[in-house]
Symmetry: C2
Subunit: 155 residues, 2 copies
């Protein structure tokens, strides 16, 4: 729903990005596609198709999984969403404009999101040294969160 980087009137809403992407290649706007888009944004990311579909069906029970897969592919290709693969064999999607990295507690599963400009700058630097042009990245730090370390200490 709401977003962080609002530039007054020049705001590029996901709806607008998608609309342009579709009209550029003769694709059509449909009730299902709008529903997938709004559900995805309302949920805020990290959902897999199954979870997304469940929420979508609260509104329209007849939407099929195939449509969700097809629409998420569209969102991915148009740059609105990013597909991520964690270890669980499913694809999860995140809002492209809200990319961040993750701290994951291997003990309780807590996921903390973060962003670090210095690290990102160094990533570009490393890539450049290898002749790469980076378009995306993924960084996950695994370990123990403060609460779990605390629990382990008193146990």
């Amino acid at each position: 729903m709401r977003d962080q980087t609002n530039h007054s009137e020049s705001a590029e809403t996901p709806e607008r990005v998608l609309a342009r992407y579709m009209s550029e290649r003769g694709l059509k706007s449909t009730r299902q596609r709008s529903l997938v888009l709004s559900t995805f944004f309302h949920a805020g990311g990290h959902l897999n198709v199954e979870e997304l579909l469940a929420r979508i069906r609260e509104v329209d029970p007849k939407v099929s999984a195939a449509t969700v897969y097809r629409t998420m592919k569209l969102l991915t290709e148009s740059g609105i969403a990013h597909a991520r693969h964690f270890g669980d064999g499913q694809t999860r999607f995140e809002i492209a404009s809200e990319h961040h990295d993750h701290l994951i507690c291997t003990s309780c599963g807590t996921i903390v999101e973060f962003e670090d400009d210095k690290i990102e700058a160094l990533q570009l630097e490393v890539a450049r040294r290898h002749g790469f042009t980076v378009t995306d990245h993924k960084m996950e730090l695994y370990g123990r969160c403060g609460a779990c370390a605390e629990k382990a200490r008193s146990a």
Copy 2:
């Protein structure tokens, strides 16, 4: 979890690690398991099951995919290998003692390994700020490699 160069007599070879892991739980050493292990190490990592199986079958054509899956699970559980999921829907394995980060060309699939101490230091720093103690991490940079950028330019 850094540094694993060979220290003469105290060397913990993968064979030894695996042997201990298996004997601790009554598992047996077999021709197939040894073959999977040696092939995996000889290849140096980043192989998926299909590729691994192809190399294994050059030696013993009768080894089944199931055995490779089962053995790689064993190697993963014993801490000898790490399972990694890149964007292609398959599981790739790497040698646990040779952890590094990856640059992945989204055009040709090339994987380049790298390590950057400055980035790793900053990762620990970020984690500390969030109260986390990091034990492992994963970082992948996606983009276009030099060769593919070249090709795109001349096309």
